[in-house]
């Protein structure tokens, strides 16, 4: 099972078309291995992006240096996935 330890999901709020273009450019950079859950589309419409653990500092540095407004939607994706799995198992147990 693929694990996502340390992967973070950031919610980025682009202020203008220029910021959207920068995010779209970021999306094309394959080596960053970004997974856009919600694509950057319009100002004030947030983009959500999953970032592999090893790329988190780099991406955050990029966002901060370019003045992006962002928040952390999920701090450690694996924690949420583990909780989801645990809930499913408990529910199955209860049903039985």
């Amino acid at each position: 099972l693929e694990t996502y330890v340390g992967h973070q999901v950031l919610r980025i709020k682009p202020k203008n078309e220029e910021e959207i273009k920068k995010l779209q450019h970021l999306e094309t950079m394959g080596h960053l291995e970004l997974d856009f859950w919600k694509n950057p589309t319009a100002p004030s419409f947030p983009a959500d992006v999953r970032i592999p653990a090893k790329r988190v500092p780099l991406v955050k540095a990029f966002l901060e240096s370019h003045g992006f407004e962002y928040s952390v939607l999920i701090k450690d994706l694996q924690v949420v996935l583990d909780k989801e799995k645990q809930d499913m198992a408990q529910s199955l147990q209860k049903d039985r």
């Binding site: 693929e2 394959g30 997974d35 949420v80 909780k83 499913m88 049903d95």
Partner: protein, 307 residues
């Protein structure tokens, strides 16, 4: 039996498919399970047909889970299936709808992807078909429809999550739906469930021009969004795919609309702002409840406005 299926939790494909049998058995007066094809990895594609009888009646199509990681859509579809069956004979709106029209519900449009999200990679979105000449697997089945195929807003890179595939309908999951709808010949509405963004969208996505029925679709979508909001105050943004999100070619509702199905809508379900599409299970039923209200608004309009 249906009494033991917990609609407020996420389930494996086997469990969902078992529940389809239970629903068909428990509500055998109006529910029938039909196989419309099989996936790339040979899993059956099952639809529930809700019908009070008669052949070739006008019908509504509803699918969920074409993007496998959007688990709340498959889960909502199951709750909605039970709701439709339970409401017949008890709720005047659903009863009059089913007395006039059939509903076809495909709860897991991408079963291979769904199984893969349970066994190997929870983040998987695409189908599981092999791509010739590439190590990367899968096609985005919502970029694979014959609607502006290959245009902007879809990738030609097999490693991309929005890879459109080698040609329109290359994915057997997509082609099975297309064939079913063509063979049926009287589908009046095409509704598809996605997550997450809280959007209710209508064509087009492959181009940014207005659909011929723009005014009616926009008004109807706004009415549906109003219904959705009425229960838990969840606000949906309404508009065409292109204006609401971005230009995206090869999507299902663009194909269905161009094929002649006027009432073509895509729902993007609930976003709590905390979990993305890893929506906690305790949100499944509220999400399904509000979605069903929106769907009902559209279905009632379809029932009352044949074309």
């Amino acid at each position: 039996s249906t009494a033991t299926f917990n609609y407020g939790t996420y389930h494996s494909l086997d469990s969902i498919y078992a529940e389809l049998d239970h629903l068909a058995s428990a509500f055998n007066n109006i529910v029938r399970k039909i196989q419309i094809g099989e996936s790339y990895e040979k899993r059956p594609l099952f639809v529930l047909k809700f019908s009070t009888g008669g052949r070739k009646r006008p019908a509504i199509w509803l699918d969920a889970g074409i993007h496998s990681r959007e688990w709340v859509t498959q889960a909502s579809a199951m709750w909605i299936a039970k709701q439709i069956a339970s409401e017949y004979g008890n709720d005047p709106s659903t009863t009059s709808l089913l007395n006039k029209m059939d509903i076809f519900l495909l709860p897991v449009a991408n079963p291979d992807g769904y199984v893969f999200t349970h066994t190997t990679n929870r983040m998987w979105r695409k189908t599981r078909s092999r791509n010739k000449g590439s190590l990367c697997v899968g096609v985005d089945p919502n970029r694979n429809w014959d609607a502006g195929f290959g245009g902007p807003g879809a990738s030609n890179n097999p490693c991309s999550d929005s890879y459109r595939g080698p040609r329109a309908n290359s994915e057997v999951e997509v082609k099975s739906i297309v064939d079913f709808i063509r063979n049926h010949g009287n589908i009046q509405a095409f509704l598809t469930l996605h997550s997450y963004s809280q959007l209710l969208m209508y064509p087009y996505g492959y181009k940014c021009t207005q659909a011929a029925d723009y005014d009616e679709l926009d008004n109807l979508a706004r009415a549906a969004a109003y219904s959705i909001r009425s229960i838990y105050d969840t606000t949906f943004k309404v508009g065409s795919i292109c204006k609401t999100i971005y230009q995206a070619s090869g999507s299902s509702i663009d194909w269905s609309y161009d094929y002649g199905i006027k009432y073509s809508f895509a729902f993007e379900l609930r976003d709590t702002g905390r979990f993305g599409f890893l929506l906690p299970a305790n949100q499944i039923i509220p999400t399904a409840e509000e979605t069903w209200l929106g769907l009902k608004t559209i279905m009632e309009h379809v029932r009352d406005n044949p074309y």
